[in-house]
Symmetry: C2
Subunit: 762 residues, 2 copies
């Protein structure tokens, strides 16, 4: 039984010793260097480009401008392809753009023999523009007569959806209802993966090979095919170890351009490695959102009717687009259940900022911040216990979601909250901190969250797996699902070992994906790895086991129905699991059999047509220094029901990382733009305030294990949920400490000072 054990990460030694190879470690020393010329205006048109001087620079091999590239629009979002065009992501991207939509847009590219020549060439290119006004917020870009960024987006609205459940107007007529409103604002933040966006591409036998730091190699293959208008089989993507992605690399970022570059230099190898600055302004960010909530509530706290209006800042390009705002509405609709009616009205709006895409949480952190702040405010104003009001309204046990058919099987919310309360000493501290005065005050706050696993039925969910048995009975596992630092390879190892009946040390997951060889899987996103990938692992492990037992039948002359594999041996179940023969002997005998030799392998695709609710909560304790406008986070706990734990230690590590991101989101991080030029001002890790371990208290990760019945190994989402509830828990702790509920994050001293002043505390 390797499941449930905290086996060491299978890639631990390689990564700790610095031996693990990442994209840039693998590049040939003779690679050409590609660099991108970025626009120095935020909105406009390139009218002229003069590359004459640049081309004279020694070492410059090729310059490609926005006037040269094919006029093909392609999508970039890392979703599974759909044969139904209604499910296609926005196709608004070109390899290089004449129409400039953000400060730093890609308008030309240089390929040179070395970094210096490439950089010099960038500086030598002369560009002339036609400039339009800069629009950094949906308010600005939705204005009547505003300059249009994409022709097919009137008023710069990429998409607007409005859904009403129940008769809202009728519902609010109920007598005695109290109306609450709140306006919430969340920042645009960046993923800040350690490894920047890096790829290198070359041609081999007429095909394009791209080695890329991506979460989604098989999807990148398709998008590159679309972007270059070539058959998808002409593209091969290889994904080595990657240094973090967090959703940014669930987009096709520069692989299509890199692919095009190599075609322009006769297939020579071209490396395209982005600087940290380029990653900040030119890749993807989390959508900044403004959310208006309106709730009609009975005095006892029961929600009767609610409405949710959100403006999601999409930035310059479509990427994952409206999906993020839409996922937010799901949180709004499902975490709490209104008795009568519910309205959602969401806008995804283009502006001249960085294109917003997927980021760990995928819209959930924004909405949970709003919803969990709002309910806290309602509780406070109604003088109700904040936990009581939540449990009065929270999704009930037995709830079946009409769209996904997901079932809430367990009383996870109560179980998680009980653990969180106990850890943070909730009852004691709620009481202790209730009558503070003085400049430093403490408080405890909490937040629930909801998340669903994987993307069915929005997109298809498939995963393919192949297993290859060696002569010693050990097994390689190939999977399209990707290790991106989250520990996927380790849990895949444990799953395969469990079903095959072999020690985990005998399972070797092939960590790198190669779309030419690796069974198709869509990659790492939607917290789907353990949920969808596991379906393929179990299916294929059982196929391989069946083959093994069929061989064992011949070898041992026992009925396969009386045989099993335990700890790498064929055992006779009818005789107290007597060991008959080792898998090593069986595999060797089978492979070299004079009469019926066979290389024992198995491969198949699993399609998953379910998903599962993941739940949990965070509790935070803070000390607020009112005059300084500073929050000190004293303690924090996340409690997750992610189903059965495959590996408690790596699960906890996932939670720690997510909690850190939620702290950054709530307290420190935001992208700041110059309103005049549209230039991103803090595009580096000095000016962008990413919290580190030193900024954190002890981060406590706890779990409730309810075996998820729709999942091959009882698991459900854990990758993204840890990022979700932290910001609202901190915000509510500050409210508890100071009486001031602050609806705009991050809770920086600038914000706190203004709020405390307005509240008369300063």
């Amino acid at each position: 039984m390797s499941i449930g054990q905290s086996i060491p990460r299978v890639d631990a030694w390689e990564k700790v010793s610095g031996r693990a190879k990442y994209t840039d470690d693998l590049v040939d020393r003779n690679a050409l260097i590609g660099k991108i010329l970025h626009s120095t205006i935020a909105n406009g048109l390139v009218t002229k480009m003069d590359t004459g001087e640049a081309e004279k620079i020694p070492g410059v091999v090729k310059i490609i401008t926005c006037f040269d590239v094919p006029d093909i629009c392609f999508p970039t979002a890392g979703h599974p392809w759909s044969t139904d065009p209604a499910h296609w992501d926005p196709m608004d991207r070109r390899l290089l753009n004449r129409r400039v939509r953000l400060y730093g847009d890609d308008i030309a590219a240089v390929i040179a023999e070395d970094e210096v020549a490439a950089s010099r060439a960038l500086r030598a290119i002369k560009v002339e523009y036609e400039e339009y006004p800069v629009m950094l917020t949906p308010e600005e870009s939705m204005k009547e007569g505003a300059n249009l960024l994409h022709e097919n987006c009137p008023n710069n609205i990429l998409k607007h959806t409005s859904v009403t459940d129940g008769d809202f107007e009728e519902a609010i007529k109920e007598e005695g209802l109290i109306k609450f409103e709140g306006d919430f604002e969340t920042p645009m933040v960046q993923h800040c993966h350690i490894e920047t966006v890096t790829s290198w591409a070359y041609m081999e036998n007429g095909r394009i090979v791209i080695v890329a730091s991506t979460q989604i190699p098989h999807i990148i293959r398709r998008i590159v095919g679309q972007a270059l208008d070539i058959p998808w089989g002409q593209v091969r993507i290889i994904k080595p170890y990657i240094g973090g992605g967090f959703g940014n690399k669930q987009d096709s970022l520069y692989e299509p351009l890199n692919a095009y570059m190599t075609t322009q230099v006769g297939g020579r190898l071209v490396k395209l490695e982005l600087s940290r600055e380029e990653v900040f302004f030119g890749t993807r960010v989390r959508h900044g959102e403004k959310i208006h909530l309106e709730s009609w509530v009975r005095p006892n706290g029961r929600l009767v009717a609610r409405s949710y209006t959100a403006y999601s800042n999409q930035g310059a390009y479509g990427s994952h687009g409206h999906g993020i705002a839409a996922k937010g509405t799901n949180v709004f609709r499902q975490l709490y259940r209104d008795e009568k009616a519910r309205k959602t009205d969401i806008y995804t709006v283009h502006t001249n900022t960085a294109a917003a895409g997927a980021m760990r949480g995928y819209g959930t952190p924004q909405t949970v911040f709003a919803v969990e702040s709002h309910i806290e405010d309602i509780a406070r104003q109604l003088k109700l216990d904040p936990l009581e009001i939540r449990f009065l309204n929270v999704m009930p046990v037995g709830f079946v979601d009409p769209f996904t058919k997901n079932v809430n099987y367990f009383d996870s919310f109560h179980q998680c909250v009980d653990k969180g309360k106990a850890y943070i000493k909730w009852d004691e501290k709620r009481k202790l901190y209730q009558n503070q005065c003085g400049p430093q005050r403490r408080g405890v706050g909490m937040s629930l969250f909801w998340y669903n696993t994987a993307v069915w039925p929005i997109s298809i969910e498939i995963s393919s797996c192949r297993m290859v048995m060696n002569q010693d009975g050990s097994v390689q596992v190939q999977l399209g699902e990707t290790e991106i630092g989250q520990g996927a390879d380790t849990v895949f190892t444990q799953m395969a070992a469990e079903t095959l009946g072999i020690p985990w040390e005998q399972v070797h997951v092939i960590s790198a994906q190669d779309t030419d060889i690796t069974p198709f899987g869509t990659g790492a996103y939607g917290s789907r790895q353990t949920y969808v990938g596991s379906a393929a692992i179990k299916k294929v492990a059982l196929m391989l086991k069946e083959k093994v037992l069929r061989c064992a039948e011949t070898l041992t002359r026992m009925s396969a129905s009386s045989l099993d594999i335990i700890d790498g041996n064929i055992v006779l179940t009818t005789n107290n699991n007597q060991v008959l023969v080792s898998l090593a002997e069986l595999a060797t005998e089978t492979l070299y059999h004079v009469d019926h030799a066979e290389h024992l392998t198995a491969e198949s695709t699993a399609q998953v047509k379910t998903n599962a609710f993941s739940f949990g909560c965070a509790f935070a304790e803070v000390e607020v220094d009112i005059p300084l406008g500073k929050i000190k986070l004293l303690d924090m706990v996340n409690v997750h029901d992610c189903g059965r734990l495959i590996n408690p230690k790596t699960a906890a590590a996932q939670v720690h990382g997510g909690m850190s991101m939620s702290i950054g989101f709530g307290m420190y991080e935001q992208l700041l733009y110059d309103p005049r030029t549209g230039k991103l001002l803090n595009s580096n890790l000095l000016d962008y305030k990413l919290p580190t371990m030193l900024d954190h208290p002890h981060l406590e990760a706890q779990f409730v294990e309810n075996y998820e019945p729709s999942s091959a190994y009882g698991t459900k989402a854990l990758g993204e949920p840890p990022t979700v509830p932290g910001a609202s828990a901190i915000r509510n702790a500050v409210l508890h400490a100071t009486g001031v509920g602050i609806n705009k994050i991050p809770l920086t001293p600038h914000v706190l000072f203004a709020e405390f002043k307005a509240a008369g505390l300063i």
Copy 2:
């Protein structure tokens, strides 16, 4: 129909443009450098080794001596493993040797940060020996009381086999028989592949990864496991493009030592690249043989009884051992059929020369030289036409070999000889050259050959294949069988395309093998690629096709039995092959299907329990300058029946290369040892006379295509046979020109001068 077309080699562009990556191209720039210390005596014992000074040299990381390595004996021959120990190859090799058996034996190894430090360290190691007498020939080493090289080889005989068919003593009593005898001698030669023996090894997640220039990655995995006494699954071999092997790389050469080296430096990457000199003296060579033939013949030329005695110089280590001499006896027994009896008596004998192993032809060039020279001499002395005497005795149509069950289905010998005669203008020139005098004389000669394909039933023959379909209907093909420069990938492409019904451009053979991922196949040897590999390709292509047609049934609503794939489209066979849907549409629809998504792949193992006779002949025309002792090869043709031609141009290229090797074998090449020290004297490409294109006339390759019914695509051996008949054809042409039959090759001026003088021509 891509079979039968001379499509360009699929790796042509990569190789011609210099872009194809070979082992050394792929090594990380931070690799440690391994170098081997070779003994400076040919026979003896290392009594003491002082590495003290060497270890002080800056940059030296580790020195390993023959006193350090584990005392494990392992085999090196690249044969499939057998679960029956009776089939095991000699296990006489250690990683490093205290007991020195050849000049240049491996006695220590250095691992250093760079080449210079490694080389300096080698020079600084002090060695003391106990020396024994040098034995370079079987005559010397078989002498009573000779020093024993291997304890289990009495009289230094690795193996001796003696087989008699029929009653020999009785048979030779037949009245009127004429007895003929001949003694033949063939040289020890080296393969001289362009890429020297190169590998690099490192550890990953506790396992050993070796990137190696080898013909047999899956076999190397097993041998490294044996050599280090670790489970075979702990070893992973990756084989990139390789620059020739010719059988030398059908041995485990330095992969085990390289693997051991990395374990001694904590798994750091160690590169071990041999110099040309090391390849010559320290890897493998073709067995030099001395063959005695005795034939009892009726006056009409009919062979009645024959005997064959051979001494095969095995050199210092066992490697492929007796298999080479044994294969020679098969040629002797099968090319011609005696009426009554036949005796073979063969010895494989250790000496202090380079270890002899597999080399293109595997014993056949030696025996065919003897047999085809001998029959020519008989014809000449009996005044019979040399073709007539051959056809009187040659293996008849319908012959069934009792051991292999091979059937000689066709009259290939006549068909091949007819073509060869016509090309060389045999009848005309035999007459024209019959009464020459003067110093320059011309002659034509010929030789038949026999070869059988693959190694069944000596060893198992299996090949596994996997095919992976892309969204555009193109397909990757993975196979354990290896491209080693012979064009295997190209013919595999054509085979897969034919059976799948898609254009060959849509087939992408994964050229590199990786034992973790690549379906098991034993590699390139025994001219087995198109014969055994094809069985797997056909089997798996049919499996994939069946899957495709099953999907097509759903998609088109037609019965799968009425559907076929032609030129990448699903067609309705009952309606004049009407195109219903493209494979691209089908593959995309299937992969992303909302209800039953599937990545279309197929994988299986094919076991081949047949082999097939390959036949043919060579005709040569020479001009001999008698006083100068020089032969000018004027023209040469090889005619092969290798079954159906998959790719006529690459088949011809195979033949050209083999003919060149046969010319070298017959006229130029030999390893020369210093009899006093046992040191190889010509271990470089300046002193070792390898012929080049400039030394050759036009090399004509012709074919007879008899579809081989035991083969998946009608093919049989072509890889090795071209090397076989050339030397005897040249020798027989010299006989025709001068009347002197020379039984020792190469036919260098030294040999010719002595022979012509003895014959009274000079």
